[in-house]
């Protein structure tokens, strides 16, 4: 069924009886051409594009919990393509362009809202680095502006300009950056995939992989064996656990990232803002809550919860930047598991096992990548070669010394 304003009005006037299930709950078939493990944003997008853009069929998505229950449902909803390095920027710009047409494409309002993102500058060295970055973004077809201190002040006069430990000296702005209603992304892709015949199978955890003569044959699940010609893994946070079924170790660690939302407030922050002198970034949702975050807790964890030091550190960053929010209340914190890779960049690649493909290592930047990740992974699955924007996301880049290290931190996942 097609969604539109007319449909909403018509349904409203007739008691909402006509709305159909947004997806089916199919029984798993004995085998598929494609199995995507992971019903989060990336997995659902992969299935959607496989069906829609690459004309593939007999596709299933296996989700151990509920659709959209991964990090697509527990992030801070920011989209942007303000990356520094050549290996990343074309991919994220491709993603941003997909975001810009997404709602019309899948007929679901995910509230893509390009209210702009600013990265604040506090030192001359940061300005130099952001100048390098902004130029690179423009050369890759993205948009970037360098704002002066006065321009930032005109946008947000109530930031701490006069009593700051690290004064604001300007900002790098990407006007096309913004936010998206995160759950709606998962639901929109799920609905679009379901409409195209993809079987979305919830409460179906993969417990093993059947591999014969170096080739994948299917997966063992809590709902029995399901055969497949090709299996794509998109299970951010659980990547090491799932790939261990194939006997693989990965260049990544799992870490907890906490995120935060305040009580609902009348509009106070228009776009997205990152503090350059501490661990803090913030935007305000359409509902009015300040959505913010900071650094990962820093130790390996699958617990989906964090501890006080990071909560305090994030609040300190917030207060240093915005001294007026002292009486705004933190409503809720939550933790997600991040695949923190060895260079801070993802992997979308084949594996040593024929028919088994991997997508992961998104660190805490996976949400904005969702459309391009799905598209590029579908491309790889369907054509057995990487999408042109994702050629650098290979396993062997560490062996070859071709790391994509945006922060220049080296092989220490918790620093990325």
């Amino acid at each position: 069924m097609r969604y539109s304003g007319f449909r909403v009005i018509a349904e409203a006037l007739t008691g909402h009886n006509g709305w159909k299930p947004v997806w089916r709950d199919p029984t798993p078939q004995a085998d598929y051409d494609y199995i995507i493990i992971g019903g989060g944003g990336h997995g659902l997008a992969t299935a959607y594009y496989l069906a829609k853009e690459f004309g593939q069929a007999r596709i299933a998505v296996l989700e151990k919990g509920y659709l959209g229950g991964g990090n697509v449902g527990r992030n801070t909803t920011i989209i942007r393509s303000n990356y520094l390095l050549d290996g990343n920027e074309p991919f994220y710009e491709f993603s941003l362009k997909l975001w810009e047409g997404l709602e019309q494409d899948f007929n679901y309002n995910a509230m893509v809202s390009q209210r702009g993102i600013i990265n604040l500058i506090h030192t001359d060295a940061q300005r130099d680095a952001f100048t390098r970055r902004g130029n690179g973004m423009i050369m890759h077809g993205a948009d970037a502006r360098l704002l002066s201190r006065d321009e930032v002040r005109a946008m947000y006069p109530w930031l701490n300009f006069d009593n700051a430990r690290f004064p604001i000296k300007g900002a790098l702005m990407q006007p096309r950056g913004g936010t998206v209603r995160h759950d709606a992304v998962a639901w929109g892709y799920a609905r679009g995939a379901d409409m195209r015949g993809v079987d979305l199978i919830q409460n179906c955890e993969v417990t093993g992989m059947r591999i014969e003569n170096g080739r994948i044959r299917g997966v063992e699940t809590t709902r029995g064996f399901i055969g497949a010609k090709k299996v794509g893994v998109a299970v951010a946070g659980s990547s090491s656990k799932v790939m261990a079924h194939a006997g693989m170790r990965l260049p990544m660690e799992s870490h907890v990232l906490q995120a935060f939302v305040s009580e609902g407030l009348k509009p106070v922050i228009e776009g997205v803002m990152t503090f350059g002198a501490g661990h803090f970034y913030v935007s305000q949702s359409d509902k009015g809550g300040l959505v913010f975050g900071g650094d990962i807790d820093g130790y390996n964890s699958y617990a989906q919860r964090g501890n006080l030091p990071v909560i305090e550190d994030v609040a300190e960053g917030g207060m240093a930047l915005m001294p007026a929010i002292g009486r705004v209340r933190l409503l809720r914190t939550w933790g997600g598991i991040m695949d923190m890779s060895m260079d801070g960049s993802p992997i979308i690649d084949k594996t040593g096992i024929e028919g088994l493909y991997f997508n992961g290592g998104w660190c805490y930047g996976g949400f904005k990548a969702t459309p391009a990740s799905g598209w590029a992974f579908a491309h790889l699955l369907a054509k057995d070669e990487p999408h042109k924007t994702a050629t650098a996301y290979r396993f062997d880049r560490f062996l070859k010394g071709l790391m994509i290290d945006e922060k220049g931190q080296g092989a220490q996942p918790n620093l990325h």
Binding site: R7, L67, I138, R181, W187, K266, V268, A303, E316, M319
Partner: protein, 980 residues
Amino acid sequence: MTQSHRIAGGQIDRTKTLRFTFDGVRYQGHPGDTLASALLANGVRLMGRSFKYHRPRGPISAGSEEPNALVELRTGGRQEPNTRATVTELYDGLEANSQNRWPSLRFDAMGINDKLSTFFAAGFYYKTFMWPKSFWEKLYEPIIRRAAGLGSVTREEDPDAYDKGFLHCDLLVIGAGPTGLMAALTAGRAGKRVILADEDFRLGGRLNAETFSVGQTSGADWAAATVAELATLPNVRLMTRTTVIGAFDHGIYGAVERVSDHLAVPAQGKPRQVLWRIYAGKAILAAGATERPVAFENNDRPGILLAGALRAYANRWGAKAGERLAVFTNNDDGIRTALDLQAKGVDVVAVIDSREGGDLIPGVRHLRGAEVIDSSGKLGLKSITVRQANGRSETIAVDALGVSGGWNPNVNIHSHHRSRPIYDPAIAAFVPGQDGPPGLLVAGAAAGAFSTHAALRTGRDAAIAALELIGAAPDLPETEDAPTRVTPLWHVAHGKGRAWIDQQNDVTVKDVKLAHQENFTSVEHLKRYTTLGMATDQGKTGNVIGLAVMAELTGRSIPETGTTIYRPPYTPVALGTLAGRSRGKKFKPFRLTPSHHWAKEHGAIFVEVGNWLRTQWVPKAGETEWRQSVDREVLATRKSVGICDVTTLGKIDIQGTDAGAFLDRVYANTFSSLAVGKCRYGLMLREDGMVFDDGTTARMGTNEYVMTTTTANAVTVFRHLEFCRQCLWPDMDVQLISTTEAWAQFSVAGPNARKLLEKVVDQDISDAAFPYMGAGNVTVCGGLRARLFRISFSGELAYEIAVPTRYGDALLREMLAKGAEFDPIVYGTEALGVMRIEKGHVAGGELNGQSTALNMGLGKMVSKKKDAIGMVLSQREGMTAETGYRLVGVKPVDPQAKLTAGSHFLEKGAAPVAANDGGWLTSKVYSPHLGCDIALGYLKAGDKKIGQRMRIVNLLAGLDTEVEIISPHMFDPEGERLRG
């Protein structure tokens, strides 16, 4: 206005009157009141508007679970949005305003949303606003954003202070109702260190809201007596107004104490709130239970409260919510409300009991097997419609209705480690499940033990169990021990109207039905699709009803349907509290250099370098532009002598018989062969082969080295060396100590550097005695120990001299005074930068963690003859390509042209697209010697492009400049000056 709805009794101090305003109207209350109780006592029921439909709302609770009665408290920089009137302690002069309404609370234009509610069903916005494409951001979303949100936030700085503290105890008791008091008493009498924390300003919990006796006295008096005894025990700390917000790892709990929120302004020197980190050996969750309503049509009108809240307002605060009262219940506890209010002289019109067999109260009309199906009253309750057991409907005029659907144990904190609560059909509620936070026991109503006797007993037993106490425990006073008799009733099936589940977010039974219809049936989908439980009360009253309705719709049981888990904090926490003192200038500590006071006296400009404040330049009288000062400092140094404080560089003493071998392992180049009394430039790699850090290291003795690191990496290099020493080569005889803060260190540079130093150094430092790259221990000013290194970052004849930090200031003044004939100047980081770039030395912009030795033109320094950190992986193919980046110098063809660091290289005629991107400028300065801007940059295959012309573009500023690629060694490339 008099307190029209004030009734007898209660724990308020009627001898004192407090004045306050709500929406500008003046009222009076008493100490002990909350804002909500005082407003109710004044006959005010309408206190807020809901989020989506802007429905008129009054309080439904008397506690922190309140979804409706939210106000903007205080004004100016102290304005607090979304403040629950039900827990706001009244103080004299309190000012509160309603929120999320326009133009007024009674006449809210946005109330139109309520009329149009059928168009605003759950998730409607996902299905529309998509056409035309541009309208979402230009039209629809701005309207939605303006309409959304609750209270408004001030733009002024919060004037109050916040603090943090740390506490340790054997037992933390969370909640000071009968359970918590008994647990604390048991542990306290046994001599254990106990912390008893409760969010309320009066300890006792429900005992203060009930009428039954404990022992020979009222519950409230027993609580007061118990508190009095606990207060005499030195091992017990009573923390009122203190909310335990979360259970973290290893027995660490967060708690917020509201030190000053009950005052107009905090007392002098006192914080508004304190964040406590409590380290508890064991903890008992005695957080009680929260009553839940029953969903029926129009169940959200002001005047409809939880039955227990009506009772609390009457018993504790002497306030009644209305003149004519009815009670709607599915359990025995609701009937207590009718009893208590009848005893208070309130006209109890009817008890509507959904069950067939509830108790009867003499003199009160009972409707058994009946349900409330609707209500009326635009801004407050006027009547309810009741469907009797025989199916007949009847309208009853009442202005207050108490609703009880049973009680939910407050399991929240037990769930903070993701333990899922389990459903107990005996009490029709969720109780704590398995795998809660280790060391946390649950007792009393929080564990589903609802009677007062059970609370006292389980509180005592939990303390005994937690602390493994032996010996006598306190006797249990006699009190009520009524069984929990409840017949589940989640919502009243009737008609087509809306029955609210989540009152603040306006989630109704219809929304849950729609979610089910569209297959959003998992509890997480239900929550996210309808926004159930995501309001400021986090679903404390509504969540269970929502999932029970979903269970009913899907035909699954409640346990099968499951529950979402609770996240910290237990109640919302002010960000100021979490930040504490770390704000403004105190966000991070300042590190000051030894020359800081001298520099300040001389009007220096400072710059933040990490936590350090360094001198950026020192303007002289008449200099109005920073460049004037910096150019002068550079020229004066190169002409005669300049002094720069380089104390911020990391300094590490490395000693032991294996010190040289150790350095060979951690540096890419070799140090074991360095002669005593010499220093060498060292390049340190990370294990991944990228350059980590650089600096000079001197050999002061056979087994003694002194390493310097960059300012930025002082801490991480030391950490890394300790890792190498302890984890990789544990038997090497090598000891490390950071001496960064032990030595004040100055660079003395320029042709007259030696002559100046000869004025203070006691030994012979002639070129013969102290040649280029010499190092050694000397004394200054007649015997003060010092270290001298003949090293140069500026390209001049230069030294670094170090003295114990406390003499740094004196040494600087001494050098300036004794060397006055050379006109020495003090230069800052800008002049330092100019001179190092003129010389092509790498620093921050080049040491970016993404660059190899080869990139920096230092590839030959990586020795392959020995094992060192990073040596193997630096040889990977991707890092050794001929086409990779190389460090180059850059100057504009037109000397007047300006360069910008961060600009990118392009060949002449090449379009500014990524495929043509040649690299970028890492650092740029104006060179007063070359008379133009100069820069360093990383250019692809740059070593083969020296002498060529290219373009530098800065697309952010529209700059496109022709430049010449030159050697990075732009000043005195032969190094004649530094050997002079």
